[in-house]
C-alpha cells in the first residue's frame, strides 16, 4: 500500500507559526509517532492530513489523492472528501455518535457513505469489534463505555471504512498506563496488516511500545 506523504506543510495561527515546512512519509505497514510538547501543533498537523483543517502551505498525498493548501475552496472540499475515504481518523475524545449504539457507530460509515448493504456491514462491524476486543459491548451506547472501550470502538469505526492510513490523535490521553501496552499491541497488529499508522502523542512509553519510527517536533514559538 502507498501510505501517506506530507510535504512542506506549514500552518500559522493568530500570527504565530504552529509548524513550518513539515515533511514526512509513512509507508503502508509502518507505524510513526510524532512526539513533541503540547502547543507545538501536533493535533493541527494531523487534522490537516484529512482536511479537517486547511494548512497555509504544503501538500498531503495518499495514492493519487492530493490535498493542496493552495487549492480553491471547492477543489479543496472535493479533495478532502476523497482523502477521508482513504484516511481514518481517531479523535482524542473519540467523538462516537452519542445517539447510536456501538454496532451502529461502526456500521454508519459503510452503510451511509459507502452504500454497503446493511447485512454485509453488520457482519464486518461485528468482526471489527471482535478484532479490537469490544464485541461484547455491541449493543451499548457510547456513554456507557469506559474511555478505553470508546477508543477501541472509534478505531473499529475508522477501520470499517477500510482506510489505507489511520491517524490517531493523542491515543493514550484517556488510558491508564496498564492499557497503553495493549493499545500499542493492537496498533502494531494493524500496521502488520499493511495499514500506515500515524499517531501524535507526548507519551514516550507509548512511542516505545508501538515500536515504530518517532518524529520529534520542536516548539517553534
Amino acid at each position: 500500500m502507498s501510505g501517506i506523504v506530507v510535504e512542506g506543510l506549514s500552518k500559522a495561527f493568530a500570527g504565530r507559526a504552529l509548524f513550518e515546512g513539515v515533511s514526512l512519509a509513512v509507508r503502508g505497514g509502518e507505524a510513526v509517532v510524532v512526539m513533541g510538547p503540547s502547543g507545538t501543533g501536533k493535533t493541527t498537523l494531523l487534522r490537516c492530513c484529512n482536511g479537517l483543517e486547511r494548512a497555509d502551505r504544503g501538500t498531503v498525498a495518499v495514492g493519487d489523492v492530493l490535498l493542496a493548501a493552495g487549492d480553491s475552496p471547492e477543489r479543496f472540499a472535493t479533495a478532502a472528501l476523497a482523502m477521508r475515504a482513504r484516511v481514518g481518523f481517531v479523535f482524542q475524545a473519540f467523538n462516537l455518535f452519542s445517539h447510536r449504539t456501538v454496532l451502529e457507530n461502526v456500521m454508519e460509515g459503510p452503510v451511509q457513505v459507502r452504500r454497503e448493504a446493511e447485512a454485509t456491514a453488520r457482519v464486518r462491524a461485528q468482526a471489527l469489534l471482535e478484532q479490537v476486543g469490544v464485541a461484547h459491548r455491541a449493543a451499548a451506547y457510547p456513554r456507557d463505555l469506559s474511555g478505553g472501550e470508546q477508543q477501541r470502538v472509534a478505531i473499529a469505526r475508522a477501520l470499517a471504512m477500510q482506510p489505507e492510513v489511520l491517524l490517531l490523535d493523542e491515543p493514550t490521553s484517556a488510558l491508564d498506563p496498564a492499557r497503553v501496552q495493549s493499545l500499542a499491541d493492537l496498533l502494531r497488529g494493524l500496521a502488520g496488516g499493511g495499514l500506515a499508522l500515524l499517531a501524535v502523542s507526548h507519551d514516550e512509553g507509548f512511542a516505545v511500545a508501538v515500536g515504530g519510527r518517532v518524529i520529534r517536533m520542536a516548539g517553534s514559538g
Binding site: R84, L96, F97, E108, V113
Partner: protein
Amino acid sequence: MALALLAACVFAATGTAAAETGMERIRRTGELLWGGDLQGGEPFVFEDAQRPGKLAGFEVEIAAAVARDLGARARFVQNDWSTLVPSLERGTFDVAMNGLEVTAALARRVHFSRPYYVFAERLTARVAATGLSDLASLRGRRVGTLASSLAWELLGGVGADRVPYEGVEEPYMDLEQGRIEAVLLDDIIASRYGRRPGLVTIGDLGQGRYAIGVKWAEDDLWRAVDGALARMIASGELRGILARWHIDGARQAALAAPVDASVTARSTSGGINGHVMGENRHETDGFYLGIRPDHVLLFVRAAGITLLIAAAAMLLAMSWGLLLAVVRMPSRRRWRRLLSLLATAYVELFRGTPVLLQLYVLYFALAPVLALPAWAAAVLGLGLNYAAYEAEVYRGGIAAVPRGQIEAAAALGMSEGLALRRVVLPQALRFSLPGVANDFIALLKDTSLVSAITVVELTKRMTIVAVDSGGWLAPGLLCAALYFAMSYPLSRLARRIEQRLGAGA
C-alpha cells in the same frame, strides 16, 4: 393570607354596592355609565370619523337623553358585545344599551326597559342562492350571525349550522366569499353592511326589540330609565332621533303600544312578539350552575376541535420550523446566506406580531385573493406563527450538538447534507423535545384565539354557554378541566419520550 385579602376585597366590594342604590350612585357621580361595543359600528355607536375621539350614533343620543332625564351625564364604556350582560351583572356600567335584544333567556338575567327600537331579523344571501325562504329553509345551512343574539337562538331552534361572529361587517364579507350560505341579522345591520353587489335580501323572518338592560337588583334605576324612555316616546323625541338616523318607519309605531308584560317581568315563558323562541331550554330540569348534561357533550366536541386544530397546526409548525432552522444554519455559500436572511426575517416577523393579527390577515384581509375556510385559516395561522418559535427551538438544539460529532461525521467522509441528516438533526431534535412539548401545550391554549375567525372551539363554546345560561363558574371549570385533561397527558407523554430518548443521547 392572599385568600384573606381576596375575601376582604370581595366584602368591601359587596359592602359598598349594598349600601347604595343605582340611582343614589348616579346622583353621587353625576354620570350614567352605559356599556356598548364600538365594533357594532354605525348607526348604533361608533367613533365619528369627522371628530376623532367623539362618539356618534342613535344610541349615543338616546343615552344622552335618558341621562339628562336622570339629571346626569352619559358616559360610554367600551365592552365586547357578546359579554355585555355579564359585564352589566358584575357592575362595569349602570346600563347596557347596544342593540341588546329582548329574549326570554336574557330577560331572566337583566331587567329590560321598554323597547326603544323594533327591529326585523333580516335574511341575506348571495344572488345565486336557491331554496332559501323562511326560517325552516335554513335547517342544515351555514348561517352567520352574532353569537348569543336572538338570531343565534332562532337559528339554533331550526337546526341551522350557526357560524358565530364578533363584528357586523365580517359575516357579509364571508357571505360574499362563499364561506357561509346566508346571514341572519337585525335590519339595521343588514341595511348598512349587507348591501354588497353579490348579495340580496331574502326577507324579514321576524321581529325583535332593543331595550336598555338594567340589573334586576337596581329597581329605582330601572324605574327611572324606563320612565325616561316612556317620556321620550310620548314627546316624540325618540322617533325624532330614529328619524335623524334614517331608521324610523311604520314598524316603530309599536313602541307607543302598551308594554308587553312578558318583556319587563321576570318571566320564564318563552314567547316574545309572537315568536316561539328557538331555545326554551334554560328553564328545564337538570340545570345545574349553568351547565346541563347536553352541554357537556357540546364541550367535549369543542375540545375535540381544539385538539384537532392544535395537532394539525403543530405538525405544520414542526416541519416548517425545521426547514427554517436548517436554512438558518451558517453557511459559506452566498445563496444559502440569502435564504438564511429571509428565514430570519420570517421568524422575527411572525414572533414580533400578535398571532391574532396574523389570523385576521389570513382570514379577512386575504379573503379577496384566497378565501380559506375558517378551520384552514386557523391551522395555517397558528402553524405559521408557531413555526417561528419551533425554528428557534431547533436552532438551539442544533447549536447544542457538540462540534466533535460533526467532525466525526466529516472524518467518515460524510457530506454536509448527510452529516446533517444522520448526525446533527437526530441529536438536535432530542435536545429540542422539551421545548417543542412546551410549545405544543402553549399552542393548545392559543387555539382559543381562532374563535375570532368563527371557529367554535372550547373557549368559545364556554363563553356561548356562559352568556346563554348566566353562569360562568361551571362552564369555566368544565372548560378548564377539559384543557387540563388534554395538556397534562401531553406533558407526561413528552417527559416519557424524553426519558426514553435520553437513554441514547
